[in-house]
Amino acid sequence: MFASGAMLVPSFLKGMEFLTPEQLSGFKNVVIIQLSGGNDGLNTLVPFRDDLYYKHRPSLGLKGDEILKLSDTLGVNANLKIIKELYDKGEVSIINNVGYPNPNRSHFRSMDIWHTGSGSNEYLSTGWVGRYLDSNCTHPYESIEVDSSLSLAMKGSERTGIALSDANKLYRDTRENFFKQIATNTKDSMLSEDNQGYLYKTLLGTYSSAEYIKETAKIYTTKVQYPNSKFAKNLKVIGDFINSGLKTRVYYSSLGGFDSHVNQKNMQGRNFKTYSEGVSALVEDLKSTGRFKDTLILTFSEFGRRVKQNASKGTDHGTANNVMVISGGLKKAGIYNENPNLSSLDKNGDLQHTVDFRGVYATILSNWLEVNDEIILNKKFKKLGFV
C-alpha cells in the first residue's frame, strides 16, 4: 500500500499496516467523548426518589416524562434516549461520584487535571493518553483526535497523537510540495533525540500517518445514516476508522456547550439530543460490523455542577460527576455504584467524590487495553470492575 513512498520511509515508521477482517476482531479500542463546559450530572442521571434533589432544584429538577427510568431510584434525562436503549441491553455502565480530592472549579484547571491525570496540586505537562503512547505505542496514529487541534490528553513527552477533522485534508496538507520534499528527504540519521530530531520525527510521523489513515480509511464505507451535526460527523470519522481496521487504540472527540449557568434545561437538552443521536449512529455502525464488542466509549466532563440551582434557572460549577461507559464488551453493566449522596455535601454545597477518575483510567488501561496502568498514571489507583 505504500507503492509510491515505501522506499523513502525511514525504518522507525516501517511496519504500519491495516488489520485484515480476521485480525479486526478482538482489536480493542477506546473512544473518549469529552463534554466541555462542565456537564450537570444530576440532570443527566436523575436521583428521582431523592427529596433533597427536588428541594435543591425546585424548578430545574426533572420529573415525569423528562426522565427515562433506569432503576427504582435513578433515571436518565429523556433526551439521552440512546443511554436508556443501551442500558436495557446491558451495554452501558454508569459510574457515579467520580472526581478527585480538593476539586478545582475552574474549567481550565479541572480539564487540565482530567487530561493529565494529575492531582489537584500538581502540574503535569503530558496527557494520560500521551503517556500511553509513550510507553506502549510506536506510531502517532495509534491515537487520533477528531478535531482541528490536539488536546493535552493526547500529548506524551516522546510521542503525540494525530489531530484531524478530515483524513483527505490532512493528506492534502502533508502532500504540498515543500512539506513533501522535506518528508521524503528525511533520513534516519536526522531523527536524533534532540529537538531538531523531534521536529523531523513529528513531521515524518504526520506525513506517513496521513497516508496510512487516508489509504486505510477507504476500506470501509458505512451504510448507517449519521445525523448532520458536527459532533455526529466527527463520530462518523471515528466509525469509519474503526470499521476500516485502522490500528488506532484511542479516539478522542468533544462536544461543547455544557456550561449551563443560565436556562439549563433547554440548553442541556439540546446538547444531549446531539449526543444521543450521534452516539446512536456510531453504535449502530459498530454493531453492523461486529466491532461494538471491541469498542469502549467513555463519556466524561471536567466537573459536575452545584447541587442547588442558581437564580437564573441554571447551575454553577461543582465537583464530582458521573461517567458513562458504553461498550458491547462490558463485564458489569448497569449502575455501577451508589447514587450521589445529597445529604453529605462539601462546604460549597457540592457532591463529594467516592471514585477517583484515575481509577477509571487505570481500569481502561489495564483491563481493556491490557497495559501497565501504573507506569502511565505514575501511581496505583483502585480499579473498577466494569471491564
Binding site: 482541528s148 487541534s149 497523537g161 489531530a163 496538507d173 521536529l199 513529528t202 513531521l203
Partner: protein, 462 residues
C-alpha cells in the same frame, strides 16, 4: 576569552536575549568587543514602555447591573484582554527594548496568571516589566501584592478563621523554592496563616486587613515569630535554594533545557550575592563562554510568541485584526495573558504536535505574503482539481491572517545574500545536507527561497 562575537554568536545572543536580529544591525556589532555588544543590549533596555490602554468604556460598563449588561461586560472584558494582547505583541515587534520585553515574557510565564480581568492583567504585566532587569525581590513582593495575583490564587479568601493555602503553596512550589525543595506541608500551612489579611481596595491598591490576619506565632522553615506575609517572602529569599531554582529556570529558558549543574552553581552564587539582581544575573549568562558553546546554539524550540515576534520584527509585520492574532496563538497553544495554569506553559517539545507543526511551517507564507505564496497544491493532487474555484478562494481567505508586512522590500535587500549567507543568517541550527541539497536547490536568493528557508523545520529552532 575571545574579544569579539562571530555572526552566528551575535544572532544567538539576539535570539535568546530578544527575538532575533535585523540583518542591517550585524555589521555594526561584528567588530566591537563582546562586552560592548552585550552591554548594548542592556543599554537599549534601560528605558521601559509600560503597556497602556484606555479603560474608559470598560469602567462605564462595569457600573451596569442588569443580566444582559453583565453578559455584555464579560464579553467586553475578554475583548479588551485580546486587544491588550495585540498591543503587547505590537510592542514586542517594534520595540528596541528587546531584552526587557523578553524578560517580561519570561516572567509572564513564571508568574503565570490566567484572569479575565484586563486592567489587573495589564498592571501585573507592567510590574514584571518594571523589575525585569532590576530586583527580583521587589518584583516578587509587588507581584504577590497585586490584585491579579491576590485574586488568581485566592488570597482574598485567606482569612484568620478559614485559611486558603493556594498562594502559600504556589509561592514556594512555583515562584521561589521549586517543587518539594526544603519546605513541608506544615510550612505551607504556616505561611498561609502569615498571608491572611492580604487584600486590595477597589482602586487596586494593596491593603493589609488586620482584623482578618492571624496574629499568632508561626514556625516557617525553621524560624519562629509572629510572621506577616512580607516576612515569609523575606525568608524565602534568604534561602539560597530560591536563587538556585530561579537560575535553573532562567537557564532552561535562555540557555539550554538540559541543565549544567556547574553553570547553575556559578550563576546562583552571582544572583544570590547580588541580592537577586536580574541585570547582574543576565549579564553573567551573556558574558560567559559557555553561553556561546555550540551545543547551546540552535537547539531551543521557539515558543509561538518567539516565532511570531521573530518573523514580525524581521519583516515588519502588522496584524490588522486582533481576533486573527488570537486565533493563531490558540492554534499554536500559547495565548498571552491566558496561560494554561499557574505553572505556565511547559515549553520545549510541548509546543510541537502534528497540528501545530503544520501551522508553524506554513506561518511564514501566511504572515508575510498573505497566503499568496502558498505552496502549489495542484501538481500531483488529482483531488484538488475537483474542488471548484469558489471553494478554493473561500478556503484561501480563511487561511489568511490579515497581516501587512514589508516582506517585498526586505526580501529585495536580502536578495544581495548568497543562499549560503541567507541560511547562515536565518537558520541557527545545523541544516542536514539532504535538506540543503535536495530541497533548497535554487541557485539564487529570491522571495521564494526566503520563504522556503523560513519554512524549514530548523527555523523553528533558535
Amino acid at each position: 576569552m575571545k574579544n569579539q562575537l562571530t555572526q552566528k554568536e551575535i544572532q544567538h545572543l539576539y535570539w535568546r536575549a530578544g527575538f532575533g536580529i535585523k540583518q542591517s544591525k550585524i555589521p555594526s556589532l561584528i567588530y566591537q568587543t563582546k562586552e560592548n555588544t552585550v552591554n548594548e543590549l542592556f543599554t537599549d533596555s534601560y528605558l521601559q514602555t509600560p503597556l497602556s490602554f484606555d479603560f474608559k468604556s470598560l469602567k462605564q460598563a462595569s457600573k451596569k447591573k442588569t443580566k444582559v449588561e453583565k453578559k455584555a461586560l464579560r464579553k467586553l472584558k475578554i475583548r479588551t484582554l485580546f486587544e491588550l494582547n495585540k498591543k503587547w505583541y505590537e510592542q514586542m515587534i517594534s520595540t528596541d527594548q528587546v531584552l526587557r520585553e523578553k524578560m517580561t515574557l519570561f516572567f509572564h510565564d513564571h508568574f503565570a496568571v490566567n484572569l479575565r480581568r484586563p486592567f489587573e492583567a495589564m498592571n501585573l504585566n507592567n510590574i514584571l516589566r518594571n523589575h525585569a532587569l532590576g530586583s527580583f525581590e521587589l518584583m516578587l513582593m509587588e507581584v504577590s501584592k497585586s490584585p491579579a495575583m491576590l485574586m488568581f490564587l485566592n488570597n482574598r479568601q485567606n482569612k484568620k478563621d478559614s485559611p486558603n493555602e493556594n498562594f502559600a503553596r504556589e509561592v514556594m512550589e512555583l515562584f521561589t523554592l521549586g517543587r518539594d525543595n526544603i519546605y513541608t506541608e506544615k510550612d505551607i500551612q504556616e505561611a498561609a496563616r502569615a498571608f491572611t489579611g492580604w487584600n486590595f481596595k477597589s482602586d487596586g491598591s494593596f491593603v493589609f486587613r488586620k482584623n482578618q490576619h492571624d496574629e499568632g506565632e508561626k514556625t516557617f522553615l525553621g524560624r519562629t515569630g509572629n510572621f506577616k506575609g512580607d516576612d515569609i517572602i523575606r525568608i524565602l529569599l534568604e534561602e539560597k535554594q530560591t536563587a538556585v531554582y530561579l537560575c535553573e529556570k532562567i537557564y532552561k529558558y535562555f540557555v539550554n533545557e538540559t541543565i549544567n549543574p556547574q553553570h547553575i552553581n556559578e550563576l546562583a552564587e552571582v544572583f544570590y550575592g547580588s541580592k537577586y539582581n536580574l541585570k547582574t544575573l543576565m549579564k553573567a549568562i551573556f558574558m560567559s563562554d559557555w553561553f556561546y558553546n555550540e551545543k547551546n546554539i540552535g537547539n531551543k524550540i521557539k515558543s509561538p510568541t518567539e516565532l511570531i515576534v521573530g518573523l514580525g520584527r524581521q519583516f515588519g509585520v502588522k496584524f490588522q485584526n486582533h481576533q486573527k492574532l488570537i486565533l493563531l496563538q490558540k492554534k499554536l497553544n500559547q495565548t498571552l495573558f491566558l496561560p494554561p495554569n499557574v505553572a505556565g506553559w511547559p515549553g520545549g517539545k510541548y509546543w510541537i504536535d502534528s497540528s501545530t507543526l503544520m501551522i508553524r511551517l506554513r506561518l511564514p507564507s501566511l504572515m508575510l505574503t498573505a497566503g499568496e505564496l502558498e505552496w502549489d497544491e495542484k501538481e500531483d493532487m488529482p483531488e484538488n482539481m475537483v474542488t471548484n474555484k469558489k471553494q478554493r478562494r473561500r478556503n484561501k481567505l480563511k487561511k489568511q491572517l490579515q497581516t501587512t508586512s514589508k516582506f517585498n522590500s526586505i526580501s529585495r535587500n536580502l536578495a544581495e545574500l548568497t543562499p549560503e549567507q541567507l541560511l547562515e543568517f536565518l537558520i541557527q541550527a545545523r541544516l542536514p545536507n539532504e535538506i540543503k541539497n535536495n530541497v533548497l536547490y535554487n541557485d539564487k536568493t529570491n522571495k521564494e527561497l526566503i520563504i522556503k528557508v523560513l519554512s524549514l523545520p530548523e527555523y523553528q529552532l533558535c
